[in-house]
């Protein structure tokens, strides 16, 4: 029974860790499918996390925080799009520039505004955070054993953003594979010349995709600072943006496999937290760092073609110019 309890708690933690990864990876799916490398996930998430926590701290409204988070991430996405699509700059350089700038700007502004060493104030009043939603009968089921406990821990008891992330997976899948926009999106990442010849603007499509990625990163960052925790701390994303990108690659740029990769990576993360200092029978203490490095190692192995094959959208990383 103890193993069962541990497993349920582990899966519940997996859901919480996976949420920002899923949101960011789905955002990245749009821009990468349109042919724009999305290394900027990290910076957009971090900027959104800071903006959401700041606005929520000042106004006392989590929803205004969410709006600020999305607004900030979309603004950053716009900056990257201007540099990459309009000025045809190097996409990797532009994204790294934004990531580095935000990692300095967020604690700088935090220090100047709140004078708490770069953090935002603790969000304690009700309504400042996205509270956990208790599903019907979850309270009663919490003390039962078996499925009731799993229901209370895994299905119930998350913030609204977690359920939003779960709902967005089928929505994204539908948009990408079943709508006209999705068809054009996939085409522009593979063969922008063909899209251009058909009289559709490559520039507009890539801007749209980048901005959608901004919206998703905005929700992801907001989740980090005002749903999963109670305020912004320095370097809050801690590489989650790159991990989401790895999950996107691991999922071969498709929504459901990406979801699976996010859950896998989140599971290893939750497992690493649980395994800290625990001796496993027959194995001994597994170093936490090995489990933490696992997603990165797996992604490298996949990219190397040793575990399956990851084929990127063909036009990814190349700025499009009509003249050529």
């Amino acid at each position: 029974m103890e193993t069962y309890t541990a497993l349920v708690l582990l899966l519940a933690a997996t859901v919480r860790v996976a949420t920002p990864l899923i949101l960011a990876a789905l955002g990245g799916l749009f821009s990468e499918r349109a042919g724009v490398v999305d290394l900027g996930l990290e910076g957009k998430m971090l900027g959104a996390a800071f903006a959401a926590a700041s606005v929520s701290a000042v106004t006392g409204s989590a929803w205004l925080g969410l709006a600020a988070g999305i607004g900030t991430a979309v603004f950053l996405a716009l900056l990257i799009a201007i540099a990459c699509v309009t000025y045809r700059g190097n996409q990797v350089v532009a994204a790294m520039a934004i990531n580095i700038m935000v990692s300095g700007l967020a604690p700088s502004l935090g220090l100047a505004w709140f004078n708490l060493g770069g953090q935002t104030p603790q969000l304690e009043r009700p309504g400042q955070r996205f509270a956990e939603i208790q599903w019907p009968w979850a309270k009663a089921a919490e003390h039962t054993r078996g499925l009731g406990f799993a229901y209370a821990q895994i299905v119930s008891g998350h913030s609204v953003l977690v359920y939003a992330a779960a709902l967005l997976v089928p929505v994204v899948s539908w948009v990408v594979y079943r709508t006209r926009f999705g068809l054009r999106l996939r085409a522009v990442g593979e063969n922008p010349q063909a899209v251009d010849t058909a009289g559709i603007s490559v520039t507009a499509l890539r801007y749209e995709a980048s901005l959608i990625s901004g919206v998703f990163c905005g929700i992801a960052g907001t989740y980090l600072s005002i749903a999963a925790s109670a305020g912004f701390v320095r370097d809050m994303t801690a590489g989650k943006g790159y991990l989401a990108l790895a999950a996107l690659i691991f999922g071969k740029w498709r929504p459901y496999p990406t979801l699976a990769a996010c859950l896998l990576f989140a599971f290893t993360d939750a497992l690493a937290a649980r395994l800290q200092g625990v001796a496993l029978p027959g194995v001994g203490v597994v170093p936490v760092q090995f489990v933490q490095a696992l997603p990165y190692v797996l992604t490298v192995l996949l990219l190397a073609g040793f575990v399956g094959e990851a084929i990127a959208p063909r036009a990814i990383g190349t700025p499009y110019s009509k003249e050529k």
């Binding site: 990797v92 790294m96 490095a293 990219l303």
Partner: protein
Amino acid sequence: MRMSGRLPAWVEYGLLPVLNLLAALLLSGVVVRIMGESPWAALKLMAAGAFGAQDSIGYTLFYSTNFIFTGLAVAVAYHAGLFNIGGEGQAYLGGLGAGLVGLACGGWPTWVVLPLGIAAAAAFGAGWAFVPAWLQARRGSHIVITTIMFNFIASALMTYLLVNVLINPGQQSPETRAFGPHASMPAVSDLLARLGITYAPSPLNVSTLLALAACFLVWVLIWKTPWGFAVRTAGRNPSAAVYAGISPARATIQAMLVSGALAGCLGVNELLGSQHRIVLDFPEGAGFVGIAVALMGRNHPAGIIVSALLFGALYQGGSQISFDMPRINRDMVVVIQGLVIVFCGALENMFRAPIAALFARARPPAAAPGGSPAVTPSR
């Protein structure tokens, strides 16, 4: 990243970088103003913090040395058409190499230990760059992604080693014992003292000379040897390189080995020169500063020295400024660093295009800039 090679050298290597830097500083000034401080006063404080005293100059040059190594690392990869974001991890592993020599052979004669330490730092850095390089060359894995992943793997590996293996027993913080007495790059203040000159102590050590030597060697290697020609050709146009009998795959791997070795040398300056033990996360983002340094220095060693000096001053000045302006700290320097990458890298066409147009108008049409297609290291 080059729109046309026809701009005069003083524009290409002087005016454009200065304009880009000014734009970055101007925007940073706006940020400082938003934070409620005077940008001009902040700039003066930073300059004073970086150059105002003997020891602050020492610190500035010490940081610059780190940035020369990582900037050169980015530049060498750039010439091979590669974007090496893995400088951070390569520097971290390079420090492991230098540190292991310091721990194991610290009692040996100095003239043996120090070359050994430098060689180990370079070898470990190169080794860490080898896997992504090989994967790019032979399996087509995107080197930007793999080097990022290797940064995280390096971080996990080093944390594991420092927490579980190399930690000094009976100690809380994850760091090794101090190196042996001879595994220490001579400090500049000590050397000057021997000549009878008193200079305030600072971490500045002879690694700075090593960095300058590396600049010269990179210049020779890239522009004056057949190897450099092969690397640059493969970077510019891989299919042309094949017709010239150059293997782009081999150029990729070799350039990345040199790049990783250069990044690894940061460990010499930081650990053998200053910390004298392996500590957690000692590169402190210097690998990423290297991107800004290389972009601003136009991937040329001379430019890299200048921009590394600038960033060294920013880092030293930025850590001093918080004493007088409590609302500003070193994070502000990271903002400037990001903005420099924006203007020198991502938005460089913004200034270049109008200036190129200006020159085209000023000169007869025959000398107008030709529209040779941009070559970007976006593999």
